[in-house]
């Protein structure tokens, strides 16, 4: 078990190193520091100012180690990313670490409720339609799910803002206030809209898993043993479906930290999603690099966590 975890983490480190190389090629070798500087200083900045800016951000040094083994941007990039020393934003020189710390709270306050509520709803609704498989209840449920998946999230966002925010005035159209109770008023609408976008696909996935599981022989055995339908669905079907369910759930967890680009930027939530969107808009490569790196870390972490979680869910999986 320990050896497996160690090996899995070892592979993870290799992938991270590869991702960093790719990032470097994309952001340093392709983007010209002059363009970044012009963005930051404005079109009319003088050449001396630009040169100073480039030098102060270290973009004037050689890119590759074979040009200068001691002081080059590639090694510097690796060293800083791996020590989580993210440096400063290209546009306004604020420390990126501070931006991240500021953004992670609002992001989590949106993504965690969305994730938990979505999980419970999707699992229960999935069990419900699976229990009524091949009936009109099932067909209607699946139709609604496909409908929900097919409509763009943008429509839910704008429609929700118009209907609930403007016409009904239940919740504010957009904005954010971190005060404990007030924040719920601002988050209700984005969470609701996010659910519409997410739940359909999840329900369909879970339904397939559950329907497959309800057809198994041991489910018939459970009924023969006199287990009630509730117990059959929860104890037998749900628990045996946990592997595929787990895969989907654990994989999603790291992305809670990355945030939702669309939801955050449309609802004015100053989280990591908004940070990323702003970085893209302003050609803030330093911030963007960090966001991509964090996204990759989240993904790799999710994969590893999924594999390890199997061992806890399924007694048949022995990690050797």
């Amino acid at each position: 078990m320990l050896a497996y975890v160690a090996r899995r983490l070892g592979y993870g480190v290799l992938v991270v190193l590869g991702v960093l190389l790719l990032l470097f090629v994309l952001f340093f070798a392709v983007a010209k520091p002059e363009d970044i500087a012009r963005r930051a200083l404005g079109e009319k900045a003088r050449q001396e100012a630009i040169d100073i800016w480039i030098a102060s951000h270290g973009y004037d040094r050689p890119l590759w180690p074979w040009q200068q083994p001691a002081d080059n941007q590639l090694f510097d990039h690796y060293a800083r990313m791996l020590t989580f020393d993210f440096g400063r934003s290209d546009t306004d020189d604020t420390p990126i670490a501070r931006r991240l710390a500021e953004g992670v709270g609002p992001t989590l306050s949106l993504t965690v409720p969305l994730f938990l509520v979505g999980l419970v709803i999707a699992l229960l609704f999935g069990l419900f339609v699976a229990f009524f498989r091949d009936t009109y209840i099932d067909a209607t449920g699946v139709f609604l799910c496909v409908l929900g998946m097919s409509v763009s999230l943008l429509l839910y966002i704008i429609g929700g803002q118009f209907l609930i925010g403007k016409l009904l005035r239940w919740f504010p159209i957009s904005g954010f206030d971190p005060a404990p109770v007030v924040v719920a008023r601002f988050l209700a609408l984005p969470v609701l809209v996010g659910l519409l976008g997410v739940v359909g696909g999840d329900v369909r996935f879970y339904r397939t898993v559950f329907v497959e599981e309800t057809g198994r022989d041991y489910v018939r055995t459970a009924r023969a043993k006199g287990a009630g339908e509730m117990r059959v669905m929860l104890r037998h079907v749900l628990r045996n479906s946990l592997i595929p369910v787990m895969t989907r759930v654990v994989l999603a967890i790291p992305f809670l930290f990355v945030g939702s680009l669309l939801l955050e930027s449309f609802f004015g939530i100053p989280g990591l999603g908004t940070l990323t969107v702003d970085a893209i808009r302003n050609n803030d490569f330093a911030t963007l690099r960090v966001m991509v790196f964090i996204g990759a870390l989240a993904f790799i972490g999710g994969q590893i966590a999924t594999d390890i979680s199997y061992a806890f869910v399924d007694p048949r999986v022995r990690l050797e």
Binding site: A224, K225, H236
Partner: protein, 337 residues
């Protein structure tokens, strides 16, 4: 003769065949099509037939694990098919089933203790959790498994051990009738013998009745008091085991016995073989269902459906050859296969 414990009459379980986008019912698989069966207290009745003849569905329909469309299943005088599912659950304590596939029919994520104890839990027998564990240990000993298997998972057991778990599980709720659906078919012969001996012992100790569903005739001969032979959803012959084996009346039974391998070259049956393949249960042949494969077919077989006739030597056979009013059979040569 002991009292009837289970009486099945006119049992019919058809599975709808759906097709097309709107999933319309275009036909039915007539898995079970009018089956009568009686099992007495403490008795073993074997239900035999080829795969696909509906014998498994009979077993499941009796327990209402499949929903039959017609007929009656009286257990101790109460018609189970008329019971609402709440009441039905109580009867599941008194009739248990051992399934064919010992791996698939055990929940892979439950330990032996819970697999065996779940039935007790459903019916609130065996006291609290600790008492139940003790009882599971007793049951394991009864099926000749060590108590240290208690906390294992099914995948950690061998096929024979799993099947014993399946039996212990069925016995846990102290049933009066156990339906064994090919309970030993998946096991190799030495383990088969062990399990069969075990079933016999348990029957004598607990006065169990068995409905033994199998395609293996040697098992039947060893275990059963009575045999019912099934073909395409119907019983074609039934009677005391000895009579069936020594003087099979129905041509299908004769064919089955002839096809069964025997270790004794002297005891080879020399009945005519069964011809061709089983017709589809979605469209059973008109007249006698067996006439398409029967080496003794004559005109009447294609026109009329034979009822079960009483045989002179005991039991019943669904064949016009047993009809007392049937004129002596015209000499028809067996059809060319």
């Amino acid at each position: 003769m002991s009292a009837a414990l289970l009486e099945v009459e006119g049992l019919r379980t058809w599975f709808p065949v759906r097709q097309g986008l709107r999933r319309r019912v275009v036909g039915h698989i007539r898995a079970v099509d009018g089956v009568d069966l009686t099992v007495r207290v403490g008795q073993t009745v074997a239900l035999v037939g080829e795969s696909g003849c509906g014998k498994t569905t009979v077993g499941r329909s009796i327990l209402r694990l499949e929903q039959p469309q017609a007929g009656s299943v009286r257990f101790d005088g109460v018609d189970l098919l008329a019971q609402p599912s709440r009441e039905l659950r109580q009867f599941r304590q008194r009739m248990q089933i051992v399934f064919q596939d010992p791996m698939a029919s055990l929940n892979p994520r439950m330990r032996v203790r819970d697999l065996v104890a779940e039935g007790m839990r459903s019916f609130g027998i065996g006291g609290g959790p600790r008492r139940r564990t003790e009882r599971v240990v007793e049951l394991l000993q009864r099926v000749q498994l060590d108590a240290d298997h208690l906390w294992r998972y099914p995948h950690e057991l061998s096929g024979g051990q799993r099947q014993r778990i399946g039996i212990a599980r069925a016995l846990a709720v102290e049933p009066e009738l156990v339906i064994c659906d090919e309970a030993v078919s998946a096991l190799d012969v030495s383990i088969q013998a062990q399990i069969l001996n075990l079933l016999g012992e348990l029957q004598r100790e607990l006065n169990l009745a068995y409905l033994f569903i199998t395609h293996d005739l040697s098992v039947v001969r060893y275990l059963a008091d009575e045999v019912a032979v099934m073909y395409l959803g119907q019983i074609v012959e039934r009677g005391p085991t000895r009579r069936i084996f020594e003087a099979p009346a129905h041509p299908y039974t004769q064919g089955l016995l002839a096809a069964a391998p025997s270790v004794d070259p002297q005891r080879r049956h020399c009945a005519l073989g069964v011809l061709g393949d089983v017709p589809s249960p979605a469209a059973p042949p008109p007249g006698c269902r067996f006439h398409t494969r029967c080496p003794k077919t004559f005109d009447r077989c294609r026109r009329e459906k034979p009822p079960l006739y009483d045989c002179a030597s005991g039991g019943q056979s669904r064949c016009f050859l047993e009809d007392p009013s049937q004129p002596p059979r015209p000499a028809v040569s067996p059809r060319e296969g």
